[in-house]
Symmetry: none
């Protein structure tokens, strides 16, 4: 009887979550069974239910984790910028896209799950909730960033910051989707540069 090697609850949850990411990324939410997740985690089916009340809960937990991870990476990247760079909204924008691109490449599986979540949101209320919250946050932060850029003269005074934020988010989302369908079909750096240039 293989027992979980981890000693803390958090670590055990993380192990199951890791297994879930692998399964969901490989087979999709509906193509994955709880048994497979458990097997991937090296535990019995029932053990997964000790940590998560349902398959949906696992997906949701994954979703939460993901947002945090990317946010942290972005913050870390911004922290390495020079003060001048950090004061440029365009530069920050570019960095955000670049980091996202790197994240997508490094965490391909997690991102696949994230992408599916966006789709699932249309039919699974609980997921819709998370996605909406996340999107609203991102929209607000991006809008603020761009407004700052407008104020600093990086864009013309009549620039529609909110629309631009929406479009930036849309583009990033679309690029992620494209990347997942055809990894390597474009350069994230070039895309980041292009996006920041607009």
């Amino acid at each position: 009887m293989p027992k979980l090697l981890e000693t803390t609850r958090v670590a055990r949850e993380a192990r199951i979550l890791r297994a879930a990411v692998a399964c969901f990324a490989r087979q999709g939410y509906y193509g994955t069974t709880m048994e497979e997740i458990a097997a991937e985690a090296g535990i019995a089916k029932g053990a997964a239910y000790v940590y998560f009340p349902s398959k949906e809960a696992i997906f949701l937990a994954l979703y939460d984790t993901w947002g945090c991870t990317l946010r942290e990476e972005i913050l870390a990247a911004l922290a390495t910028l020079t003060p001048a760079e950090r004061n440029s909204a365009r530069w920050v924008l570019r960095t955000i896209v670049e980091v996202t691109g790197r994240h997508v490449q490094k965490e391909a599986a997690t991102c696949r799950v994230l992408m599916e979540g966006r789709s699932l949101a249309a039919y699974v209320p609980a997921i819709a909730e998370r996605v909406a919250t996340e999107q609203a946050q991102a929209q607000a932060q991006l809008t603020t960033l761009i407004q700052g850029g407008v104020a600093a003269g990086e864009w013309p005074a009549d620039f529609d910051a909110a629309l631009h934020a929406t479009m930036v988010r849309a583009t990033i989302h679309g690029l992620m989707a494209t990347w997942h369908m055809a990894p390597g079909s474009f350069s994230w750096e070039a895309a980041a540069a292009a996006l920041a240039r607009r």
Copy 2:
């Protein structure tokens, strides 16, 4: 026993397809049963199998139909442009986005299904095939269009047409996703204009 009113096979298929769109849009692919599609079409479960060998086949057929519809609308819209406008790649680009925006609003259900298809593609090979083909076509056409624009001096000579095409497609995709999550949250016209301005 009320039989199908249509007399041609094609018309009967169309009726089933229409029912499928409604169901898939409402409940998603996995949330929809063959029984529901049949009920929506006003026929018996078994009858659907006379026209389509499987649920997946219905989805695929839907997918094909969709591409055609939007393409036709775009062509029709381009036909109304003045020769001068039609010669401007930027103007054509803008028109494409605008038409897409209008299409998304008019055919919300169909577009929901299309969006889900993009997601399903990651796990259902048959869908992946369609999506890949469609995307490749769109990419090629857009690239050609932009290259024409570059040649005509609408963009600088060193402009990366392929990357730009990718980004335009990504943005459109992202905007559709955004629209589905939050219809009315932005203006397609403004987005089209912004996209063509770059």
Copy 3:
């Protein structure tokens, strides 16, 4: 592939219900699986769900059927009484108990299920509802019967008809329980006579 031999929906439902009675009587509600019921009915698991949405629904349907059957038997028995007998509340009471006794012996399985229903009612709201309705009806009818007897001088004028009705029902219920635990341990005729003599 064994198909149901019956041609009407009602007949098919009856077949499943008959199988369910056998299983429930043998193993109890919780000890019976849908698969067993289906097997007993000679069909596949899924087929049972074509006719009944759940195990509980099967139990409920059984319950309804049962009440009707006994009621019919009692009415039939009362119809064979002479006018004089029929006018005697005591005689009618005795007949009711006798018929119940015969029914219990003839339909032992059904009655076992009925008895379990009484118990299940404490924890399954839907069952509680049926049982309560049935009991209220029986109580009302018995009370009316006894009141008639009181009016006719069969019992003293200060006789508490409602209490007596309650006690008669209680006794019948208790006798049924006793019979199921130890069939043959007493004579239903003698019990009927004793009950009517009070």
Copy 4:
């Protein structure tokens, strides 16, 4: 880690048993999980297995306890009777029913469990055994009591003591069932009096 406060095994068992009564009464045998019993007792799931080998064993233990409690109450009540009363079988009968009625009201939870046990007995051999033993004892004691009454002229010489005992038990059982379905729907005192009058 809060340990059980009791120091003797018996006291610890009693605590678990008390918790079990509460759970079984509330949710029924099949609706109760070992985890719930343990939680109600304030211990961990595994600890319950130190004292009882299985859920069934807990139920059985409960059953034994119950019989004792009621028996004690009855004996205590009989001890308060005057010699004359104690010599009257009818009076004793009436007392037994009254005490049972009071017990049912005071120990509603325990009695619910007892009632369910009667039902469970049909499908769980171990429970059937207890119930049969208990019933046989009660039947024997009641028969003896009534026979005494017959000998003392309280009933006619040809009175069927065994049948009457069966009916008394049946009535008590039925009244308990009725009480549980509809507490307060009749008066135990009146019922006791009526039963003793027969």
